[in-house]
């Protein structure tokens, strides 16, 4: 192996290790998950704790008593992984959590799990109180991105990634 080949190999292996261990800030910024709401929604900024409360079903209405409608991605999507990370739950715990909420009468049903970002876009357009998590690269026109703890997705310090 020549010196050139060795340098390239070291660089690639280094990049791979950095990506695997999550110590590539630039790479992380591209995978931020945006919190999106209807363009009619007046909310511009939410704290990470508020977002957790919303997706945990503890906060159920926006200002003006508009009911919050939760839309989440089905298992397997990256947005789902971030949701579970936000809730600090496994998939099973998430299911059990919502069964418990329905059983206690705190929710009518588990949030609807959608199979594509296109469907999330339709949901956001259809319901003024809708909120969803969408991969930043998949945010469509008509979706309003909410700042989280004052940060936009892609900015340093953005918590949902």
């Amino acid at each position: 192996m020549s010196t050139m080949q060795a340098r390239i190999a070291i660089a690639l292996v280094g990049t791979w290790i950095a990506a695997q261990t999550g110590i590539l800030p630039a790479f992380a910024q591209n995978t931020d998950i945006a919190v999106v709401v209807s363009s009619q929604n007046a909310v511009d900024n939410l704290s990470a704790a508020e977002i957790r409360k919303i997706f945990a079903g503890e906060k159920r209405s926006w200002a003006g008593n508009i009911p919050i409608k939760l839309f989440v991605r089905a298992p397997g999507a990256r947005e789902r992984d971030v949701l579970l990370k936000l809730m600090n739950m496994s998939e099973s715990e998430y299911k059990q959590y919502w069964t418990g909420r329905v059983f206690r009468g705190d929710a009518q049903a588990e949030p609807i799990a959608l199979f594509s970002n296109g469907m999330q876009k339709e949901a956001i357009a259809l319901y003024p109180g809708a909120i969803a998590l969408v991969n930043l690269q998949d945010v469509k026109p008509g979706m309003k991105i909410v700042r989280v703890d004052g940060h936009k997705p892609g900015e340093t310090g953005y918590p949902l990634n």
């Binding site: 190999a9 690639l12 206690r104 594509s116 876009k121």
Partner: protein, 425 residues
Amino acid sequence: MRRNRRFLMLLLMITSLGYAQNPTPSEREMIEQLAQQVKALQEQVKLLESQRQRPGPDANNSAALNSMGTGPPAAEDASDPQHEPFLQGLHDLNGIQWIGFGEVNYKVLDQRTPELGSYGFVSGSHGNFYTGDFDLLLTARINDKASVLSEIVFGEGDAQSFGVDLERILLKYDYSDRLRMSFGRYHTGIGYYNTAFHSGSWLQTTPDRPLIMEFANDGGPLPTQAIGVSVTGEIPSGKLGLNYIAEYGSSDTIRPDDAIGSTDENNGNHFNVGFFARPQSIPGFQVGGSLYHDLISDDIRGPDVRLGQTIVNAHIVYMGHKIEFLNEGFLIRHAYEQGPTVYNMPAFYSQVSRQFGRIRPFFRYQYINANSSSLLEDIGLRHGPSFGARFDFNDNIAFKIQLDHTLRKGQPDLNGLHSQLAFTF
């Protein structure tokens, strides 16, 4: 240079393979996830096909879309107009939704007589199988703010007889996060457990409820159910996350009693007021308390003899990071209207468990000290530990096993083994 390119290609392939394998901890889980996705997609296709069979587009949905002016551009993906009624139908969840809970139990005690909370346990045998509660939870949405919840339980009595009980029937109206109202039959908000866990054993870590939270018709000392109005909501308190609960209704509790068959407490209307905090900074943590008061009759001395029943509760609960830590303390005070007789009866339980994969070992210690001259004379002083484990076969079926050691005043210690197969569907 050409060799360099080949070498680069090879490295990139290895790298990409590494990425492909990384997101899930094992191939099996990935296969399960993919199978779930395929199943979900099949259900979606079925729903879409059923939507297509409708004669025309839903006029209400079109109106809603037009009024918002957010119709999707034609070039967007998934912009098929069929999605809109599909989504609307999916989220609005019209009709009745239901969840079922069932259980099969085997319980054995080292005494021949039945024990409190062992409903369905045939007197005179050492060990029995019984089904416990078969629970159907039905919910229906009326509109964005109103809904109906009902819980119907088929409970097992003696000699495999079954009775139907409308455990809960509630018309719920959520005006806002600060005002949520329920009208109908509810589980009283005395403490934490009674409103967090209902009849479906599948949700509980342990096979049984703590004795102090046992349903009254199974021998528990508290008025666990009532008919009336229950109001709850948030109190503006920033990060403290303060909530209130206020209830007014009639409980009319009937407790089984070894001596006279059953005790009808003929409760007057009760009120219950509680406060609890769920601090934003500690998700899963809850601390709070409640005060319950009603008037009950003394069956032994006759219905004219009334006593005031006051129940004070304090609780600290943490559910998070796979840990369950439940602690509740109670003071039950019975004070006769005529005369100075007052009974103060303390009780508490503490339960801790942690999930390790599919297994959740647990430990519970409970204590109750009911005066032997009071209406709760059948309970008396009893305390002791329980330990065991819950094993989740999957998201719907769990097996639980529990060993109990109970010390009782004036009676021999009681040992028990309780196993349970609990499921939801």
